[in-house]
Symmetry: C2
């Protein structure tokens, strides 16, 4: 892997030259949200760069479309298609590498570097995409099994459809927020005494507020209504990936979800990490999904064995006192369905996807005890305290707690590609 | 009720002077979608009108905002709030009434009438709003009871939560289409033999394609994330109403819906009528909802008894041969939860609503045999043929069938306020 001339890129940085994730920033000099990439502890402001440099020299295919970098979302860039994303990412890698053929453009131009290369801590991150629809799947096998077993026993943990299709449901797009946005504890209907008859819920703050560790994937190329996307054509439709925390109120969920699924238990907030890691950047880290013994329907048969990614995932919980404990470590290959399969299934009946639509993987847990992507599992539905730094512990989240998701892939040949952080801190519920 | 100088307004027209619904049209002279209202068999083109007349004379509150009528959706107009909607509707009623004080502006101006008053059949209707999120409720009591009884028996027809909250789920915004858009029969996973073990679905066209008769409601005023809308403040947030056909594939639904609810069974298409009937136009037709014997939670207590509307609803089925049968007649007061209650519940946990978001009532059925808003009920889950004109009959929809929903309210004092039609014709599934 080539090295970069940009200073302060630690070998453990998520934002190595091998990555080049895209995001939406506002900067001290330009408060209107626009496009940048992350490199080490810096960002390269593509709008500022394009104001001083003819970017069509570095990536010819964006010629005539350079204003995509002035947009407040990545949608216009995403819509240009995988070949353009690839060329732009490679062009930026060339520009930032030590042996760049474009040294004069930026590396040796101190005035421009001052304008376009800024410390990450000096910029504000925004939601990277305008999200039309958000769909959440349930493809994390060990999570689905553990939760099913908790409520229905291990023999009936998974419904028979689980092995024949990627189960999913429609989420709420309006409450997807960028990492760092404070999360208000939701109020909802809760059944305090499930044994009492008649069943009488109370309305109050959730007592079982949880996180969910997920991977999110954004749609690049849309499909026309009435036409499905073949599983082996899906790559062209997938733009890139983010971390997704699908905050969940377990007590609200338990009372509301029959018969139409989760609603207010989920729609109050979902957080995503700000940097979209392009699909190409994850290509070197392919792995096989969890084995599914049921033969797939024809439309779900993939041409490749390695259909998911081998990435380390971690969850930190930081208490109001500021103490941080890593409460879970797992891997994104713990999915039984891949994003191409999710997309093929989602569009099977002709459902149109638009550029910027978000697919969530569902909670990702491993098979082990500390590999669970939710407190529901880690605390065995509130029955077991999850031990934190010092004398503290949790079953579910307290006001003031902050949850931080992290993900990265690395190999000696390909360098390290990571997502940065997806953070959210809980604040107290509204007074009824 | 005042009468209008506009010619050809039949006493049974849905678009009387008492109505004035808003829609998005393109016209022979102006192909870019823009705002109009319906009156009788005509439309009044508000963009064309505003190009020749100072509309601030008639509705002063839009002063400085007249370009709202040049927009391709009603979102900008909706966002201005109920007081503005009221003034604009009343201003248009004054302009179009026989005794208009503004005779010279339009009534007596033949040249302008030719430009702004066009036959409805000469214009193309578009989706009226840019829909951020679409949520479908389940507030039609008789439908929920009948479907529950069909699958679980009358004693367990409704889950205990049904009487304590308006049950809802998130739908798919990208596949909401305007009346007249052809509807492709979806392909999906179907369990042909539910008794066989192991359960092995096939992938193929739905054999149980159905319609659902619903009322849709658009959001005007947004609410901030983390803040709920009080049930008695909801009126200010509700823009207006449309007919909604939430097309449903019953066989796909049956196999997929456990445990997260309907997904591909619904997301292939939902049709809405093109004219948005403003909330004010329905005020004279208030009625009481279906009685709920469970005392409501505090946040769902409404200050008024008459919280739904007394409107006649009808469903026509037209065969490929062109024969039309009215297969259901019911009333929109057959809801157990009102739209203000749906909105208060939806936002209870802080979920943000945006201008243009769509809420569906859920299928509306009456208690009687021919009052059902779906073929699932009319055919008793496919067991009974629904008789059509001549010798024809249906259990579910055939390719080439067209479903037309209609709704209107009328009273001697208030005239007739109707929705026009919500139509959709089925075409054959994609080849697998």
């Amino acid at each position: 892997m080539a090295s970069s001339w940009v200073p302060n890129i630690s070998p453990t940085s998520d934002f190595s030259l091998a990555n080049i994730p895209f995001g939406i920033v506002s900067t001290p000099n330009d408060p209107s949200p626009h496009v940048a990439v992350a490199i080490g502890t810096s960002i390269l402001d593509l709008k500022a760069l394009s104001a001083h440099v003819d970017l069509a020299e570095i990536f010819p295919s964006v010629k005539g479309n350079v204003d995509i970098f002035s947009q407040p979302t990545l949608n216009a860039f995403a819509q240009l298609g995988r070949a353009v994303h690839r060329e732009v990412r490679q062009g930026i890698q060339a520009l930032l590498s030590t042996d760049t053929p474009h040294g004069a453009l930026l590396r040796d131009n101190d005035e421009l570097k001052e304008k376009a290369l800024l410390p990450q801590r000096s910029v504000k991150m925004h939601l990277p995409m305008a999200i039309g629809d958000y769909t959440d799947f349930y493809a994390g096998y060990h999570h689905a099994f553990a939760v099913g077993a908790m409520f229905r026993g291990p023999e009936h943990a998974l419904a028979p459809n689980y092995s024949t299709m990627p189960i999913g449901y429609h989420g709420r797009a309006s409450s997807v927020v960028v990492s760092g946005t404070p999360i208000r504890r939701p109020v909802g209907q809760i059944l305090l005494d499930p044994a009492a008859e008649p069943k009488q819920p109370v309305t109050g703050p959730s007592r079982r507020l949880d996180f969910e560790l997920e991977l999110g994937c954004f749609i690049a190329k849309p499909n026309e209504m009435g036409r499905s996307v073949g599983v082996n054509e899906a790559d062209e439709h997938l733009f890139g990936y983010v971390l997704l925390n699908d905050w969940s109120a377990r007590d609200i969920q338990l009372w509301e979800y029959v018969p139409l699924g989760p609603f207010n238990a989920k729609n109050f907030a979902s957080s995503i990490s700000p940097w979209v890691v392009l699909a190409d950047a994850l290509e070197p880290f392919r792995a096989s999904a969890v084995e599914n013994k049921t033969p797939p329907q024809e439309y779900l048969k993939e041409g490749r064995e390695q259909n998911v990614f081998d990435m380390r995932l971690e969850v930190d919980l930081t208490t109001p006192e500021g103490d941080t404990t890593t409460i879970a470590r797992t891997n994104s290959k713990n999915l039984m369905w891949s994003f191409p399969q999710m997309l093929a299934h989602h569009t099977l009946g002709g459902c149109p996807m638009r550029t910027g639509d978000l697919l969530g993987s569902g909670t990702i847990s491993g098979p082990g005890a500390n590999e669970s992507g939710s407190l529901l599992e880690l605390s065995n539905n509130g029955k077991k305290e999850v031990l934190l730094y010092g004398m503290d512990s949790r079953t579910f989240l307290k006001d003031g707690d902050e949850v931080t998701l992290r993900a990265f892939a690395s190999s000696s040949g390909s360098g390290r590609v990571g997502f940065g952080e997806c953070r959210g801190r809980i604040y107290s519920a509204a007074r009824a």
